[in-house]
Symmetry: C2
Subunit: 246 residues, 2 copies
């Protein structure tokens, strides 16, 4: 660009707020769920209730990874989980919906223009311990198939997180075992793989596959109190995994 006097004029620099957003995927033995927080407000005189990923602006004095852990804990009570950064979202269209901007300005009591968000990802098993921490917050699990229109570009972030998991699991399949309880049945393991990869897996072939995964160790223990034939439990053995692969 040039001014009328012929000097070069540079476009204004972006001085952005930075946020972190956390995609926490949980498996309950039957389906994959995402951890969402409720949002409510009023826009054009109409009350609305919708949902968003747990996320917020970062403070001046904290690093990205630290901010992600803090924000997740503040909004959901969840702590002590492995969050990994997976992508930055910085489109200027992220804040194109006035509803999102108004909500954020009320929540943060700050003027908000553009926000670049750094997204984080975690895989967890859903159990009583984690559900207990959610109780005191306006947060909860939503099955992936039931997720509706989320705030900002959070639907896009969620979709890309699922692609990221599939790709990352090719290099590091062990990460998927974070979705499972300490002991799990072959059927739970198969269901989890089917949901992550989005296609059915033949039961017969899957038992051969388990036998090839030396780090999936059968236990003596079986399910109790089930109507059908009690299934054997397996566990993931990290020591065997690390010894043979690293």
């Amino acid at each position: 660009m040039e001014s009328m006097q012929g000097e070069v004029i540079y476009p204004p620099l972006a001085n952005n707020h930075i946020s972190v957003d956390c995609v926490v995927i949980g498996f309950d033995g039957t389906q994959l769920n995402v951890l969402l927080v409720n949002r409510h407000g009023e826009e054009d005189g109409l009350a609305y209730h919708d949902m968003k990923l747990p996320g917020s602006l970062i403070y001046q004095d904290e690093d990205l990874d630290g901010a992600a852990l803090r924000v997740l804990n503040e909004l959901t009570g969840v702590k002590n989980i492995k969050l990994m950064q997976f992508r930055a979202y910085g489109s200027k269209n992220r804040t194109s919906d006035p509803k999102d901007v108004h909500w954020l300005e009320r929540a943060q009591q700050a003027r908000v223009e553009r926000i670049v968000t750094i997204s984080y990802l975690a895989l967890v098993k859903i159990d009583r311990a984690i559900d207990k921490s959610l109780d005191a917050h306006k947060a909860g699990w939503v099955p992936l198939n039931d997720v509706k229109r989320l705030a900002f570009d959070h639907n896009l972030i969620l979709t890309e997180a699922m692609h990221y998991i599939r790709d990352a699991a090719e290099v590091n399949p062990v990460m998927l075992f974070d979705l499972l309880p300490r002991k799990f049945t072959a059927s739970q393991l198969r269901t989890m793989f089917e949901l992550i990869y989005g296609h059915a897996i033949d039961v017969r072939n899957f038992h051969k596959k388990i036998a090839m995964m030396d780090y999936v160790v059968p236990l003596e223990e079986r399910q109790q109190g089930v109507a059908h034939r009690a299934a054997r439990y397996y566990k993931f053995d990290r020591k065997i995994y690390n010894k043979n692969r690293r």
Copy 2:
């Protein structure tokens, strides 16, 4: 935190500048190089000359991906390459060296506090076309083994970029062929793999491996004007790759 009046005081929000930094890795048939730009300035009365990744602050009106392409082109002349985002760096220690802050404030004529940078990655072959575009800029290829102390946290970004390439190539090996010219010898292909993975590959086994890569197609053509026995050329066939894998 609480004030003396007992109201809750939140820490100040971070209102950061955002930058993009590009890690462009080029292969010249013999070694891996990174594209760096020269930086010079004066600190404590002493002139210095060092190097940095091509990167700069983004403008208010551009997206992250667009900013990365613009900045790379402005600083190196390079265009029409595939840049992929790989990680955000936002430690508050990124701008702990006054030399870096002073240099940036002079270059940008703006007050700079904290900067979150979104890093991008590209793999290219080094040929006359790309070298020509560098000539007009203060940019050049530096062999990976000769990279010294870079500005900001650019050594860390470069190191993590190389890890990222290794991981990403496990899922998508085809990306590595962007490092090679249209036709290449088996020896060039082997050298490239050795450099990426950081260990020697047995020549005999490698010829078996090439035979298994149906998308690496031998050509009738051989090297010309070489003192030793002229090697056969190969090409990467994207059609065969896509047909058999996707």
